[in-house]
């Protein structure tokens, strides 16, 4: 099965690079400088190399601490384990908290890099604060793309389709029964029970919530009137501390529905709804996620690689509820040793071989065009 995964990945990467070849040179100012940095042989140029054969340039030792987004936690666990296997003397800790804490701990100078599901927000002065903490420009580097799954627990219903309006109305408590006509209308042929809907949301400040809110607002601004932010704004349902608790609560609550990163849905064998953004129901698969993320455009300036995801796009075959987790780093660290650790670790995670391991964890690899830029920026970290 590893082979199947690899082939699908290769297809994805090739397709992505072809599609985005045109704009790659006009994007980041120095994106053409994508040659592999000396000392690292991460196979960025050839997507056909076998996955585990990544060689790393290991720092002589030390500990790199990071925390933040729980959305990328499972991916980070895999990256770190592989990295520590390769670099015996180095320790990397990624504490899965939430995006807000990733940013604030980074700004407070407590961690080497922060994981966040949204790029530093200029409206809140975050880039300035982070840059001040760094003493150099702070950068958003996309690293892990992950779909948000709409997971549900409905006995006998394994094939459920939802659209943004119905989703908004469910999550804000306007639709309260599973056999509501609005749901039945887009699920012809499916027998829906009259079970009451139990909504589960994140009670901790979370980038997953914010991205999901952004998606709802982009598609249904009339129903979803809140400003997207990390705390979930709805009054309905029950809040759970972390995605894992949403998943476990869903498992034990018939009629439950919640939004979790795909890996949590998969790890808990939860049913995942198809999403119809206007171009037909789309199932959540690595391919449909890739189709969506490859359309993302870099909007960051300079070396900052913030992406813009078009949640309202009606692309056939693209799963539209996705998020990108950024690693927030300094372009030049005050402490050179930390800089070397961050550079080495992120060079490792942005290697094509490591990105290729993501689909088995419930994530999608970065599109080739973005990945090339990421590798170039990571190579400049010091």
């Amino acid at each position: 099965m590893g082979r199947i995964r690899l082939i699908s990945l290769a297809t994805l990467v090739v397709a992505g690079s072809v599609a985005l070849a045109a704009c790659s040179s006009s994007g980041g100012s120095k994106s053409s400088d994508s040659s592999t940095p000396a000392g690292t042989t991460s196979s960025s140029s050839s997507s056909s190399s076998s996955a585990p054969a990544t060689t790393v340039s290991c720092p002589s030792g030390g500990t790199l601490n990071a925390d933040g987004s729980s959305a990328q936690a499972n991916a980070m666990t895999t990256f770190i384990t592989a990295y520590q296997k390769a670099c015996a003397g180095v320790t990397v800790n990624y504490t899965s908290t939430n995006s807000g804490q990733g940013v604030s701990d980074f700004t407070a100078g407590k961690i080497g890099f922060g994981g966040s599901d949204s790029a530093l927000n200029p409206a809140k002065g975050e880039p300035a604060a982070a840059t001040k903490a760094c003493g150099s420009t702070a950068l958003d580097i996309p690293m892990v793309t992950g779909p948000i799954a709409i997971a549900y627990n409905l006995a006998g219903v394994s094939n459920l389709t939802l659209n943004p309006t119905v989703l908004t109305q469910i999550f804000l408590g306007k639709i309260t029964k599973w056999n509501d006509p609005a749901i039945a209308k887009i699920n012809s042929g499916v027998t829906l029970p009259s079970t009451a809907i139990s909504v589960f949301f994140r009670s901790d400040p979370s980038g997953t919530s914010k991205n999901f809110e952004t998606y709802l607002q982009a598609n249904d601004p009339t129903d979803f009137t809140y400003t997207p932010d990390k705390p979930w704004p709805g009054k309905t349902g029950s809040g759970e501390n972390g995605s894992a608790k949403i998943a476990s609560s869903l498992k034990s609550t018939p009629g439950g529905i919640g939004y979790v990163e795909w890996s949590y849905a998969g790890n808990n064998s939860l049913s995942v709804a198809k999403i119809d953004n206007g171009a037909g129901a789309v199932e959540l698969t690595p391919a449909t996620v890739g189709a969506f993320v490859s359309s993302a455009a870099v909007v960051g300036t300079g070396d900052d690689l913030s992406l813009k995801l078009d949640y309202a796009a009606k692309t056939p075959g693209a799963y539209p509820i996705d998020l990108v987790t950024y690693e927030i780093v300094c372009s030049k660290y005050k402490d050179a040793a930390t800089g070397a650790l961050v550079k080495s670790f992120l060079t490792f995670t942005s290697s094509a071989a490591q990105q290729a391991t993501l689909p088995s964890q419930g994530y999608a690899p970065l599109p080739a065009s973005v990945l090339t830029k990421v590798q170039a920026v990571v190579a400049k970290i010091s």
Binding site: M1, R5, T95
Partner: protein, 315 residues
Amino acid sequence: MTLAAETPTTAFASNLRARRTKNNIATVVMTGCFLVALVPLIWLLWTVISRGWRVMVHADWFSQDQRLTQDWRTPGGGALHAIIGTLEQVLVCSLISVPVGVLAAVYLVEYGTGKLRSAVTFMVDILTGVPSIVAALFIYLIFIIEFGAGFAGIYVSLALVLLMIPVIVRTTEEMLKLVPNELREASYALGVPKWKTIAKIVLPTAFSGILTGIVLGVARVAGETAPALILVQYSASRNSNLLHGNQASLPLFIYSQFPNYANVGSKENAFTHVKEVTNNYAAGRMWAAALTLILLIALLNLVARLISRRSKVSN
């Protein structure tokens, strides 16, 4: 079990049967209360032991960390990183709490008078009731927010000090009160100064009792999670530096495995729809860490009981 009710000469003989029934019901209810309390205890211990011991008895458990086995699908690894963290944090906490606590108890029993004595008694009473999250919040406020320090194990130790001091003060106080006055008076009669009397006569006499209190204080704080939750971050690797960086402890180790405990080792990979055999190793590790923590605390309690048996001040 039926008591005097068997004697029908009492004034209440007329409703003897009713009274006897009532008495029997009461007996059943009391015994039932005890049995009801046993249910969660046995259930919990059974859960922890049956799900955790297999992982715990593996040779790696006490010699490895989770550096290379963090993923819930990866077997193996151990709890050494967490055990090191717990021992260090508790040791440093004890190094601060024990002298302060014992000396404060000496003050209360041997020196204290007037307002300061009542103030100390009152404050120890307050400290006994302080919730661990408030103690943690206090340390967080001072060190993390005001001083801008990074997370580290030492702050957990400091928060635990607030929880351990009242335990030490109370036990030591009780033990010092038990030391017979004749001992002190005999010592004074020989012209021994008061401080020497306390240091050489009173404290050694009460030593095993004080030690019992210390061990129980350690057992009290070893399982505390709330301070670790906000004052330090988990590390899957060994970190013996209390002053810097992420550090695991047994409670944090349990908490770190908790998000994945319920993951299903499905035969079919939900993402690739390919058949895969994955077992969930996070759950085993979580229960094994819980078992290790329970055993550690049980061991401390056992030590306390053994020490107290040797107490010189008992009759």
